[in-house]
Each structure stands twice: as structure tokens, then as C-alpha cells.
């Protein structure tokens, strides 16, 4: 089967269009009322789920009924395959509520990646396993959990959601190294009657949840596959690949080599350059050649290489100034785009413009890119080129073994200093092992 292009893996708009859009038009007022009602019922559910003892049969029945009221229907298939002693569940990732749906049928917990308060985390069925202190800590804690507790651990090895129509993202190996065997579960999600996509590129979790409440109902279909063991001669990477190869045909999907990081990159490209057009590689080379600096051509090519775009139409900016402006923007994200463009028209060179801006020859009002800046230090922080706020697609943990990153960048110099010292220590600890 052909390997799908990255843009086919995600939905870019919420609505499918076509004949169902007429239906949607009439349904809209009803859906809105339904959504508001369900939000209130949802709060009740939330409180109830806190009161009832977790991992108890009654709780699961009650919660399932209320979830049906909220329009979340969970059905299962081949549940005889589910073995009680399997401690690791892996599923594909199609919506932000996947873990909830699985949790309803097979109580499980999920290692948290976010810095939530303990209480809230517990209520949402997450557990802090130290993901923010690096993959080594996460794996260690998760392994401990598998040994001590009978409650299985749920993970989405894809690390990011897809539309579930074309392909699976590349699985990260960490969840397969925790315990043997591993129980794969495939999730097919279906929203009958009106065509509203579950999750779109760059959407936030609460937006997706709203559309869950808005739609008449959404069916999660879980199919449990037989537990899989790692072969004697297999390493974890091969085992991971084998599980992925087993799951893909069950979903009528193909496996791809795109990772969750590729999704973030792609989202950034699409969402921050609305006038993006698809052109062929040949056209791209012409565009690049006209740049003042040939290094950028190399960069573009290496970028393309990195994202496996070689044999596909490449997503590129058509006009030359947009390419250059976005390069300047990468270096100096706090400078407004129109100021950059104006200066580029004068200099027509990326490096000259950057130098001019840095030297203060160009006047501009810095854009406030941080959502909640208020104090003076926020000014310093806003230039960050980390993930822009618009693409906060939740990512499940797949930190690399030797990456020593912090979960967040504190406003306070002291905290930053502490985190820096901690990370240095972590690096030494890992190296000495």
C-alpha cells in the first residue's frame, strides 16, 4: 500500500462539508443546547467519579450510563482477549478522550505529562510518574507500578492524535519496555449522522470535548487484540514495530514513519502560514535560489530530508518575501511580521535585516506572544521559539533517553536556576550509570 502523506493523517477543518452540512445547519441550535446541558451533566459526572471508589464494578456501570447521556458510547469487541494479568495496555490515539473510553471498560491509569495539581490529576485518571524528569525516571516509575499494582497502565505510543483514516504514527518504544506481555487495543471512533471531525490539527483538548458534547453521540469501538510477547531474539524496537504492524490492519490503516514531533512541525507550518500553497520541489528550488543566502537552501533541503518529504509534493511558501520573513521571524519572534517585511523590501537579505533589527535601526512595538504576560520578566520570556501557543496539541510522553529537558520554563530566576542544577545532576547521574 502507498505511504500516505503527512497532511492526510490529520483533519484540517472541523466540518466535512457536503450534504451533511445542510443537516448540520438545522442541527446547530439543538446541538448548542445539548452541549450546554451536557457540560453541566459532565460536572456531575466528574464529582461522582471522584466519590465512587475507583476500579469498582458499580462505578464503571454508573459512569458508562452517564457517559451515554453525554453522548460518549463505548462498545467492545473480542473482550475475551483481555487478560487480567496484563499490565500494559497500548492503543492508537484518535481523540483526547481515548483514555476515558478505555478506562470506562478496562480501569487503567495513564502516566501524566502535565504539571497538574495532585487532586485534579487523580480525578482525571492520570498519575504522576515523573515524566518531566526525563524518560529514565518515567520508565523506572512505570516499571515499579507494573510490579506493585494490579491496575494496568494505559499508553498511547503514537504520542499524538491522528484522524484514524489513513495511517498510524510511528510508535515510541518506551511503553513496550515496561512489562511483558503487552495488550494492544484498537480504537475506532465514529460520529454518525452529522459530519464533525473528532480532532483537528492544532485544536485544543477543550475544543474537542465541546464538539463531543455538541454531537448527538460518538461511538468508541474498542477491539482487544491478543496479548503480545517480545520474542527472545527481538529488541524493543522490533517488538514495537511488530505490535504496530499487528494493529494497523485491524484499523485498515498503514503504518508510517512520521512521529508526533513531525505532527507538531507540520502543525506549526500550516497554522502559522495561512497563505501556504503546495508546490513541487522544482518550483521550490527556484524560489530558494532567489534567496540572497545559499545557506538557506541547504537548510530547506535538510528540513525536507528530515521530514521524509522527498517523494511528495512539498509544502512551501510561494512568495520569496514570505520565506525570508518567516526566517527572520524564527530568529526574532517578537518582531511583528509587517515590520520584517518592510525592512526586507529595503535590504532583501535575511541576515542584514536581522542585524538591523538587533542594532535598533528598525523601530517596532514588540508583539506579546506569551498569553499571560504581566510582569517585566515576561518581556524577556516572550521571545521564546518553543512551541507556539496555538498548537498546544497535547502530546503523551515520549521523551528521549538522553534528553534532559524541563517541563516548563519558570518565570522566577531562582526556580530556573534550581531546575538547571537538577538537570545537570540528572545528566551526571545518567552518565555515571
Amino acid at each position: 500500500m502507498d505511504k500516505p502523506a503527512i497532511e492526510e493523517l490529520f483533519d484540517s477543518s472541523r466540518f466535512n462539508g457536503g450534504s451533511s452540512s445542510i443537516l448540520l445547519f438545522f442541527y446547530f441550535p439543538l446541538g448548542l443546547v445539548l452541549a450546554i446541558l451536557r457540560i453541566f451533566i459532565g460536572v456531575q459526572l466528574f464529582i461522582l467519579s471522584c466519590i465512587l471508589p475507583k476500579f469498582h464494578a458499580v462505578r464503571s456501570v454508573i459512569l458508562r450510563i452517564i457517559c451515554c447521556v453525554l453522548g460518549i458510547v463505548v462498545t467492545t469487541d473480542n473482550s475475551e482477549n483481555r487478560k487480567k494479568d496484563v499490565r500494559v495496555l497500548v492503543t492508537n490515539h484518535v481523540s483526547p478522550l481515548d483514555h476515558l473510553a478505555v478506562d470506562l471498560v478496562y480501569p487503567s491509569i495513564m502516566p501524566s505529562v502535565w504539571d497538574l495539581p495532585g487532586m485534579l490529576m487523580w480525578m482525571l485518571g492520570y498519575r504522576d510518574m515523573g515524566a518531566k524528569r526525563g524518560r529514565a525516571v518515567l520508565i523506572e516509575k512505570a516499571k515499579e507500578h507494573c510490579e506493585e499494582s494490579p491496575i494496568p497502565l494505559l499508553s498511547h505510543p503514537e504520542g499524538a492524535t491522528t484522524n484514524g483514516k489513513k495511517g498510524l504514527l510511528k510508535f515510541s518504544t518506551w511503553s513496550f519496555s515496561l512489562d511483558q506481555p503487552v495488550q494492544p487495543i484498537v480504537i475506532v471512533i465514529n460520529r454518525p449522522l452529522i459530519g464533525i471531525n473528532i480532532s483537528t490539527l492544532g485544536s485544543r483538548w477543550w475544543q474537542d470535548v465541546f464538539w463531543f458534547f455538541f454531537s448527538p453521540f460518538t461511538v468508541f469501538h474498542l477491539r482487544v487484540l491478543p496479548a503480545m510477547y517480545k520474542g527472545e531474539s527481538e529488541d524493543f524496537e522490533e517488538f514495537t514495530k511488530r505490535v504496530q504492524d499487528t494493529m494497523a490492519p485491524q484499523l485498515h490503516l498503514t503504518t508510517t514513519f512520521y512521529t508526533s514531533a513531525d505532527k507538531v512541525e507540520y502543525a506549526k507550518k500550516v497554522l502559522f502560514n495561512p497563505h501556504l500553497k503546495k508546490i513541487d520541489i522544482t518550483e521550490m528550488c527556484i524560489v530558494s535560489n532567489s534567496l540572497c543566502n545559499h545557506r538557506h537552501l541547504d537548510r530547506l533541503q535538510s528540513l525536507r530530508h528530515h521530514h521524509h518529504y522527498q517523494h511528495q509534493p512539498i509544502v512551501m511558501l510561494l512568495d520569496r518575501f514570505s520565506v525570508m520573513a518567516s526566517q527572520v521571524k524564527e530568529v526574532l519572534p517578537h518582531v511583528p511580521e509587517d515590520v520584517i517585511r518592510k525592512d526586507l523590501e529595503k535590504t532583501s537579505c535575511v541576515d542584514t535585516t536581522i542585524s538591523r533589527i538587533l542594532e535598533g535601526q528598525v523601530h517596532f512595538v514588540p508583539i506579546d506572544t506569551s498569553p499571560s504576560s504581566g510582569d517585566g520578566e515576561a518581556d524577556l520570556l516572550e521571545g521564546a521559539t518553543a512551541m507556539p501557543s496555538g498548537t498546544s496539541t497535547p502530546l503523551t510522553p515520549s521523551p528521549s533517553a538522553t534528553q534532559f529537558s524541563a517541563s516548563h520554563f519558570s518565570r522566577s530566576a531562582n526556580e530556573r536556576q534550581m531546575s538547571f542544577e537538577e538537570r545537570k545532576q540528572a545528566l551526571y547521574d545518567t552518565a555515571r550509570r
Partner: protein, 165 residues
């Protein structure tokens, strides 16, 4: 001038904190002075420096990013492209026009679009593949060319020393 340098350094620090390259930790050693950074680099896998942790000091000029920073290893190093005092000699740390050794092509020079991350990555690849034409450390260059076994032995000793073993 120093304001924009500070801003840029803060942005790079944030980037390196949230999404550092593998085996690298870097940041200001003391936030009182943002122009003095400390970096820890893990010796790249599959090379004679594998597993070592090498601390280095990065000093930024007040007109950063127009001028390149300086980088100096604070642990003992024995490498063709590192001066005996620890100073790193690679092309990305030199602005076009200043070329102490006269061997660099102008392609990979410092410019404001480079970054601390790129420097650190270049240093990692320098550890993996020394450039014996440069000769910041002539003894190391010679040994790298003529007696690779001895060089690897020296490197492994440095790795153990860097870990305090």
C-alpha cells in the same frame, strides 16, 4: 544593545531548557550574569569520548548575536581542535573574516542566525570527528593521525576522569 542580546539569550535559554538536544544541558551558570553560560556535553556514542561528561564555559560578547560567543572546556581535554587551555576552535565560533588557522571555508561561519544549540551540536560532532588540519592542539593532531590507539586510550582516560571515577 545589551538589551537585545539579553532577550535573545533568554529565548535561547528557554528553548534549550524545554527542548534540549540529546546529551546536552546548557544555561547561565548564575543568572546574575546572563553572558556567562555553563554547558555539559555528553561524549557522543560510538566514539572514543563516549559516555564522558565534559563541562564547558561559554562567554557571550555584549553585542551577541552579531559577534560569536567563545567556548572553553573547563575539564582537561585532549583533542586536535581544542587548545591546551580548553578553548574550542571550530568555524561556527568565528565570524567571517577572522580565521586564526586559515583553513576554514566561509560556509559554516558565525552569523546571527546561528545559535547556542547549533554551536553545541557542532562541538558534539567535532568530538566525534576531529579535524586534524586545524591543529589547535598539535600534539593531539599528530597522535590522532599517527597513533590512533594511543589517542583513544588518552580519550578514554579523560572520560573516566570527567565522571570522577
Amino acid at each position: 544593545m545589551a538589551g537585545s542580546a539579553l532577550k535573545r539569550l533568554m529565548a535561547e535559554y528557554k528553548q534549550l531548557t524545554l527542548n534540549p538536544p540529546e546529551g546536552i544541558v546548557a544555561g547561565p551558570s548564575n543568572e546574575e550574569n546572563f553572558f556567562e553560560w555553563e554547558a555539559l556535553i555528553v561524549g557522543p556514542e560510538g566514539t572514543c569520548f563516549e559516555g564522558g561528561v565534559f563541562p564547558a564555559k561559554i562567554t557571550f560578547p555584549p553585542d551577541y548575536p552579531l559577534s560569536p560567543p567563545k567556548m572553553k572546556f573547563t575539564s582537561d581535554m585532549f583533542h586536535p581542535n581544542i587548545y591546551p587551555d580548553g578553548q574550542v576552535c571550530i568555524s561556527i565560533l568565528h565570524a567571517p573574516g577572522d580565521d586564526p588557522m586559515g583553513y576554514e571555508s566561509s560556509a559554516e561561519r558565525w552569523s546571527p542566525v546561528q545559535s547556542v544549540e547549533k554551536i553545541l551540536l557542532s562541538v558534539v560532532s567535532m568530538l566525534a570527528e576531529p579535524n586534524d588540519e586545524s591543529g589547535a592542539n598539535v600534539d593531539a593532531s599528530k597522535m590522532w593521525r599517527d597513533d590512533r590507539q594511543q589517542f583513544n586510550k588518552m580519550a578514554r582516560r579523560l572520560v573516566r576522569k570527567s565522571l570522577g571515577l
